[in-house]
Symmetry: C2
Subunit: 289 residues, 2 copies
């Protein structure tokens, strides 16, 4: 099941990279871009990320067999409401958002029965926004989490799996609930910590920052409004992650004392080992491609 | 005031990189390496990081006009005690440790009056250890913090400043107290946070880690015993930094609620802006070289 007519709603970093990636893999599908800003769409077309574009949503999805929502998470409800009356029966809808419970619920409530929805979270990106940062290889070797539910036709999830694999991604399937809990720990919390680490620096310490600090806080440069939407949408999980981190810090503070030297070493060594194992596993995954 | 006879005590990543950097800048000084392990010293000589080596401390410093302590922070007291009786009058002593109050106090208490000590903290390194990771350009464009005190002869600090500049470093002078407080925030805290972020991950979330997580936690891979020594030595400041971070997290948790959306956006945007300004300032510093 290959898609021959693709509609990308919102052609920024992710939407643009999908288009460029499909072209780089010589996928012959037709790609229509939709958005609010003519300049962005013209730029996306000039880059070769889309074949044509329109500011009219009905026109954008008229022939589509796959529609990919690439707008910020905060716009999903509006987009799905506008999509519902203009989709032809059978068109599969997915998204690239960083949270999954809300979009899956919205799609179930708002889209016609004849339009299956399966959530996608391609875990690739950048702290940069905009189609000018789009890259054909953005998704290479990265993970894509799919969140099919009991209501999703099996063929829809399989078709999407093949689609993302064609862009170089590895697939993991989780429930929307499992997804939101896991990314809260592994993605949303690191962002917040990077931002907190920057926020608490004094003006005198900041100029002393070295390469380690610059690397550690890179993800704090992400777009504030995008992140606000993600954090509010995943609020319960994010607050739980922050509480677990607070507990970890409280434990750590008790270890930073001369009589606990061995326990402190063990805590540091265990973290170093887990991080090294992870980095090695990631390298192996890339080598296995 | 150029140094013509250098003694490097502990030829690992930092000591080895000093030697390689001096050679790369065509500095004609003689470099002796000292350490406990013959294999390491042979390796350092084979790499061209030192001209010759010895396992005898007296021999290592007999002709030195500059001695650089490059052992772990936890060994400084032992090393300074052993150094005191074998230094010739006038030999300047410095170190490359990550904390400064203790080593400055130890040097004042243990070294002869005729041997000035000025602390150095070249803020360059790696999560790797060992001379096999040494690089001639490790110090290029990085910051070196010098901590001269009222008792340090002016010529000693000036000589060291020129020495580190010859390896491509930019110099900042701070008091030992200012140094330890600032690096607690900008260097020790990021390390602990990276480790805490790894430690609190569940086994199910870990495989979902993306590039952002790998970057954010890179520094957690540092050597556990080295870090234990640094953290215990700088305990008061590190505990203060952790408390300030706990307060920042507590503030943040109150912002992750729908009615505080604007304040959350402002908090995220301010962190992103400060981090971007820092990254740009670092790029400018490199461009200015």
């Amino acid at each position: 099941m290959a898609f021959s007519n693709l509609s990308i709603l919102g052609v920024g970093l992710l939407g643009g990279s999908i288009g460029l990636g499909l072209r780089a893999s010589a996928n012959p599908c037709k790609i229509v871009g939709y958005g609010y800003r003519r300049e962005t769409l013209e730029q996306a077309q000039a880059f070769g990320a889309i074949d044509r574009w329109t500011l009219d949503l009905r026109e954008a999805v008229a022939d589509a067999d796959l529609v990919i929502l690439c707008t910020p998470v905060g716009l999903f409800e509006t987009m799905l409401k506008q999509l519902a009356p203009v989709l032809k029966p059978g068109t599969l809808v997915t998204d690239v958002g960083s949270t999954k419970r809300t979009v899956v619920r919205l799609a179930r409530d708002l889209l016609p029965e004849a339009n299956p929805f399966v959530g996608s979270h391609p875990m690739a990106g950048s702290e940069k926004r905009g189609v000018e940062y789009a890259r054909a290889d953005l998704f290479h070797n990265a993970l894509c989490i799919l969140t099919p539910t009991a209501g999703s036709p099996r063929s829809a999830a399989t078709g999407l799996e093949i689609f993302w694999e064609s862009l170089g991604m590895r697939i993991v399937r989780l429930s929307p609930e499992e997804h939101d809990a896991a990314v809260s720990d592994i993605s949303h919390l690191p962002h917040l910590l990077a931002a907190a680490l920057v926020s608490m620096q004094s003006r005198s310490a900041m100029p002393l920052a070295g390469k380690g600090f610059i690397d550690t806080t890179r993800i704090a440069s992400g777009d504030a409004r995008l992140w606000r939407d993600i954090l509010l949408d995943n609020r319960d999980n994010v607050l739980t992650s922050l509480t677990r981190l607070q507990n970890e810090i409280a434990t750590l503070k008790k270890l930073i004392t001369p009589t606990k030297g061995e326990a402190l070493t063990a805590w540091l060594a265990s973290a170093a080992q887990r991080r090294d194992d992870l980095a090695k596993a990631k390298l192996r995954e890339i080598a296995d491609e």
